[in-house]
Symmetry: none
Subunit: 226 residues, 2 copies
DNA sequence: TAGATTAGTAACAATTTATTAATACCTGTA
DNA sequence: TACAGGTATTAATAAATTGTTACTAATCTA
């Protein structure tokens, strides 16, 4: 994950708050929590979270009311709002979506899945942060056209090769382990052998030349200009 | 040194235990197994594994009961607990997550995926300290690029030499015995002759110059600026 | 200073790791 | 269904790193 997303979690059960906070933080999110739904609105204003995860059944103000308020706020209405719901509350979904809720997540929560799910939702909502085109010496990596230029020479790379090169080139000099590369290009839930990275590296070298990607034996690969 | 993660696997099927053990070990894990879930708790106490992989359906004590016990133990509750589940048991997931289980893995098991998945889960829990780059006088030891800089001069060291230099340089002035060096760079369970250290020291000196690593005869080596 | 201990060095062997080519596997499409 | 492009796996080969040894040099000590 490149950007660190901020999540606001609201639930009256402190244990659940703790579990969720713990797990999301482990997965690289920044997490704010409260157990009072009366505070959701002002906290959202203050923190500008990338997503709000909100219990429906709350003792003070229920999730629907909060959602309505958020969705009516000019400043906050673009923040994806996700309901947390116990199994037996599922029938109330209809109501939630009418209010502009983005999704439902049922308790009990599956930690590994939660992060993935929220990440997906955020990406859908927030305009994918613009990844810049890169210019490194005579090499230009152009996301707009999905093309690599070496001076005037136009080189076309298939997706995986392009993204792999992009990751390396986005931090020139930094060594990426195969594991790093896999999790960033393939995603954390895909299981692909490490040798696959080597093969893609070779294909890239074949196309742009051998002088840009350096192997650090036993560690990984890096992009480097000589 | 790459840390070796310890997994405790519990399943009543000895064949499965063997398969899992074999595959995890091949992927660099340290593996302990038992086919009696009544033993899980005390084994966990004794071994302090980095993760417990536990079958649900067990003849004596089922996985849920074990999970509950572990999660209620102050000492063990931070060990990620992963259930092994047969396809047709998936509906029981609900129960497991309530108990604080971290994940489910369905049988039949795909070996390649298993290692990756467990590694991911462990890393979520154990956050490894980021080792800082070092700047000592004109010498910079840069872990990001895995390079050593002497002023503007760029020096590339292979892994072992790099790590050895890094250890010495992380406590400038401190003398490390060969034994210290071996256990920290090679790991405590690897047998390598002490003369090997000398050879690596020589190679490092050859590359960065003789003026940084000092020999204390009869004791060891230290990194020192003059 | 002789003898003993410890470290340095070069050459070689062993091991680990990466490269590469061939092959198989998808997935979408004509 | 066959094809094509992209992607993943495997296994052999190649290359670099790492470890050992045997010898030499330096240092210590009695």
């Amino acid at each position: 994950m490149i950007k660190k997303y901020k999540i606001l979690v609201v639930d009256d059960d402190l244990d659940i708050l703790e579990i969720i906070k713990f797990n999301l933080e482990r997965n690289g999110f920044e997490v704010a929590v409260t157990n009072k739904s009366t505070e959701t609105y002002e906290l959202a204003l203050k923190l500008k979270p990338d997503l709000i995860l909100h219990d429906i059944m709350m003792p003070d103000l229920d999730g629907f009311q909060v959602c309505r308020k958020i969705k009516h706020s000019e400043v906050l209405k673009n923040i994806p709002f996700v309901f947390l719901t116990a199994r037996n509350e599922e029938h109330s979904e209809v109501q939630g979506f009418d209010l502009g809720a983005e999704d439902y997540i049922a308790k009990p929560i599956k930690p590994a899945a939660l992060s993935t799910r929220l990440k997906t939702i955020i990406k859908r909502y927030i305009k994918e942060e613009e990844l810049p085109n890169l210019q490194l010496g005579i090499i230009k990596i152009d996301r707009d056209s999905y093309m690599v230029y070496k001076n005037e020479e136009k080189i076309s790379l298939p997706k995986k090769e392009f993204e792999l090169l992009y990751i390396l080139a986005s931090s020139p000099g930094k060594v990426f382990s195969r594991e790093d590369v896999l999790s960033r290009v393939w995603g954390s839930d895909v299981y692909v052998g490490e040798r696959t990275v080597d093969v893609h590296i070779r294909k890239i070298r074949e196309k742009i030349g051998d002088n840009y990607i350096t192997t650090i034996k036993g560690v990984g690969y890096k992009f480097e200009l000589n």
